[in-house]
Symmetry: C2
DNA sequence: CTAGTTGCAAACGGTTTGCACGAGC
DNA sequence: GCTCGTGCAAACCGTTTGCAACTAG
């Protein structure tokens, strides 16, 4: 999340033939530096703090550029709620159905499992997403965990 | 997919306090017996063949009942395209970005990986979905596989 | 008979798009 | 200065909902 991200962001846009506008830089800085898997709305509200006139359309257009450049992934764990993830290596997402947070988790087995599936089904894998839904540690400790809809 | 599914479907509805209408039975028979992970649209078109006056609203309402009963899972691998899966045990979905088909794949490692994540993060898992995106065997053999957007 | 269900059409919410003004390079 | 990017508002599209007519039990 430090400023040294900026030069490489600018380079990324220019190299792909895009102009490095203040909006694009701000959006990229935020999304690439975030670990909370924000929605477009969340990005919009965040960027608005420093760029009050930004529009949701610009958020979506910039996110699309980052997606096409392979810098972020799209998560669709809930229907009607697309979230974004700057971590593009194989990893799992633990979605808490109570508080909505998504935590990352990685394990060396994961790439092996991907290879195995790929070999077994003769399938060329270009992307993966291991989703786990349930109740996170914090929410379980607060006494929740019973009345959820999986 | 045989007719012996029907009595248990009727029982399921009645036990949950729902009426077993012809529409609900037809929709359930199709969704529970399908291995192609249909969208609501697909279900609608299919049911329309035998029940021409059925509405999309009824499809959605019936699917919700099946979901709440834990008989089917919801898949959101593409944004804006919810599909349904009558296989509720932990398994992987291989989505072909070329032809759109989704194949199932299971491996004994999967439940172990879920347990490991659960233990490592102190997370109570109630559902899982392992997504792999790429190119399926058939499409790869037809010479595709290069110009895809992951 | 009567509460629950259906089909219709309108509402909804997230995402995309057309367009005229404005800004990067 | 020429082109690309932005903000706005309208369009889109899958899903949900309100309602009057209908039907399962």
């Amino acid at each position: 999340m430090e400023d040294d991200l900026e030069p490489s962001i600018i380079k990324t846009f220019r190299n792909s033939g895009y102009k490095a506008t203040p909006q694009r830089i701000a959006i990229s800085r935020y999304v690439l530096g975030s670990d909370e898997h924000p929605t477009a709305q969340k990005v919009y509200l965040e960027i608005k703090k420093t760029h009050p006139t930004v529009s949701l359309a610009t958020i979506y257009r910039t996110i699309k550029i980052l997606k096409d450049a392979g810098l972020i992934l799209e998560l669709n764990m809930h229907q009607g709620e697309t979230r974004f993830d700057p971590v593009t290596e194989p990893h799992a997402h633990l979605l808490c159905l109570r508080c909505g947070r998504i935590d990352d988790w990685t394990d060396p087995i994961m790439p092996k499992l991907i290879d195995k599936a790929s070999a077994a089904e003769n399938f060329i894998v270009t992307g993966s997403n291991f989703e786990l839904k349930g109740i996170c540690d914090g929410c379980a400790k607060m006494g929740y965990g019973a009345d959820i809809t999986p």
